[in-house]
């Protein structure tokens, strides 16, 4: 061992370096006050969630308050943990149109993978940024259609306009509007009061 190493060992040099590091943070935090804490006081302040945040799943409506869901069951087929149950039915008087008569999501099983949202042909499903869903009874996490629609209503106040480019009796899926060119004001039909 060299002399320098001996001096370092005898004066606890390495420990002093470490203690300098901690006291530096302390001084910056308490005396200079130029170092904020990384802590977020959670129930009082909440973090900004990214746009792609995967929270609770909601059912959406068009701007005329009609449900987007057409009861096709593709979300049920896509779901890897069998969260979704759809009971589809015909619309009364419109034999070609179907809708989800009942729609259940057992969110206690959901893994928030987002496959149902990808599977939906009419974009009737979306992920909200809600995450504070602790319940006392796990059966409260089995959401029915009104609950899912309410989730959508309170998280997506701006609704998509219903596109009527097919005969209203024939229109089954409003398919294709992903590929359509973006709508200009000229294309929009006149607003009827």
């Amino acid at each position: 061992m060299t002399l320098g190493q001996w001096v370092k060992r005898l004066t606890f040099y390495e420990i002093l370096i470490g203690m300098k590091a901690t006291i530096t943070v302390f001084i910056q935090r308490i005396i200079l006050r130029n170092r904020p804490a990384v802590t977020l006081q959670y129930p009082h302040e909440k973090r900004d969630l990214p746009g792609s945040y995967r929270g609770m799943i909601a059912l959406l409506r068009y701007d005329d308050e009609t449900e987007k869901c057409v009861g096709c069951d593709l979300c049920e087929a896509a779901c890897p943990s069998r969260v979704i149950t759809v009971i589809s039915a015909e619309k009364e008087g419109e034999p070609m149109k179907r809708y989800a008569k009942e729609y259940y999501m057992d969110m206690s099983r959901c893994i928030f993978c987002g496959l149902c949202i990808q599977a939906c042909p009419v974009d009737a499903l979306a992920m909200t940024k809600e995450y504070e869903w602790a319940v006392y009874n796990k059966r409260d996490l089995r959401l029915n259609k009104p609950q899912l629609l309410a989730l959508g209503d309170r998280n997506f106040p701006e609704r998509e306009r219903k596109i009527e480019f097919q005969h209203h009796n024939v229109a089954f899926f409003n398919i294709g509007h992903h590929d359509l060119p973006p709508m200009t004001s000229k294309d929009q039909p006149p607003v009827t009061p």
Binding site: G18, T22, V25, R29, A37
Partner: protein, 350 residues
């Protein structure tokens, strides 16, 4: 008889005052530790109970008071109950000989007494060391009586560790005792009057002794980086594993009371106790005691901060490292300090 009564009454009042002050300090030290640690780690610490979490000790105390008191089925009931008391009482008893302020006699309502020390016995420091050793029994018996492997291991470790490091404490302070020629805490502090260059760490060149004392004190109070007996990553909670409720609170209080005690001893032995770092006093003669108590408090809290600072910085030692450090580094250093101080004092007094 009357004299005895007044003596006992005054002593009792002093004991109650000191006890209240010490226990309040201990309660708020738990908060201070959490706050200081969090400030050093970019966190906030307790923030919910009261403004900036200032009432956290009250909440903790209430919680521990109302917790269920569990005695394990296989435990030795008597020793299990005795251990927390045996570790708290020796820690509190040490405060009887600590001088908190100037050693002056005050006359109040016709009684003459020294207000800032409960009793000035002529073997003060020896008395503190003796009771600190008894405190180790609390840990050892608590670990054995719990009938739990983790507790037993923690108790065994505490036994070996406290004994090794108490030896170093005893040797580290011998330099001071040689210089002051007394074991009385009051006389040791009085001998360091007149500016910081008269304090034994600077004037008596007791730097080695002080460093050995400080490190051994951390080890003796079972604090990080020497909390081998508790070692939550290996032994759950060491000797406290089976304890809950107020019994656990007693151990907790004993740990913090020991911290305050060794800080007080360090302040008195090496940093002049109540003596200000400048000669004389700034305040007039009859108010000088405020200054004395102020400087004593500042010194004690500096050492307490040192405890937190060390805890925030250093990781726990391995058991063999601890033992090697204690016997092969600290003990020779302390002995060197004794020999050097003795030679220096002999030469100076020739």
């Amino acid at each position: 008889m009357m004299e005895l009564m007044t003596f006992a009454g005054i002593a009792l009042i002093k004991i109650v005052v000191v006890l209240i002050v010490v226990l309040t300090t201990v309660a708020f030290l738990t908060l201070a530790e959490r706050k200081v640690l969090s400030w050093m780690q970019d966190r906030m610490g307790p923030m919910e109970v009261g403004p900036y979490g200032i009432l956290q000790p009250l909440a903790d105390g209430l919680k521990l008071f109302f917790k269920e008191d569990i005695i394990p089925a296989g435990a030795n009931w008597a020793l299990f109950s005795l251990a927390p008391i045996l570790s708290l009482v020796p820690a509190l008893i040490g405060f009887a000989v600590i001088p908190y302020g100037p050693n002056k006699e005050v006359e109040l309502f016709g009684y003459t007494f020294k207000p800032f020390v409960i009793t000035d016995i002529n073997i003060g420091i020896l008395y503190i060391l003796a009771f600190a050793s008894i405190g180790a029994y609390g840990v050892i018996l608590g670990g054995w009586a719990s009938n739990n492997k983790y507790s037993l291991l923690g108790g065994l470790r505490a036994a070996a560790q406290v004994i090794s490091y108490e030896l170093n404490i005893g040797l580290a302070i011998i330099g001071v005792l040689i210089l002051s020629g007394s074991l009385s805490m009051v006389k040791i502090a009085e001998a360091q009057a007149g500016g910081f260059w008269h304090w034994y760490i600077f004037g008596g060149l007791q730097v080695i002794g002080f460093v050995v004392y400080l490190i051994s004190a951390v080890a003796e109070t079972n604090r990080l980086p020497f909390d081998l007996a508790e070692a939550e990553s290996e032994l759950v909670a060491g000797w406290m594993t089976e304890y809950s409720g107020m019994r656990f609170a007693f151990f907790f209080m004993a740990e913090y009371t020991n911290m305050v005690l060794v800080s007080c001893v360090a302040a008195v032995l090496f940093f002049g106790g109540w003596q200000a770092p400048y000669p004389g006093t700034l305040l007039p003669e009859n108010l000088a005691w405020i200054e004395g108590i102020f400087w004593f408090t500042v010194k004690v809290f500096f050492f307490l901060f040192m405890f937190f600072w060390l805890r925030a910085t250093l990781p726990r030692l391995r058991y063999d490292q601890l033992m090697r450090f204690g016997w092969k580094v600290m003990l020779p250093l302390a002995l060197t300090n004794v020999v050097l101080t003795a030679i220096a004092v002999y030469l100076v007094r020739q």
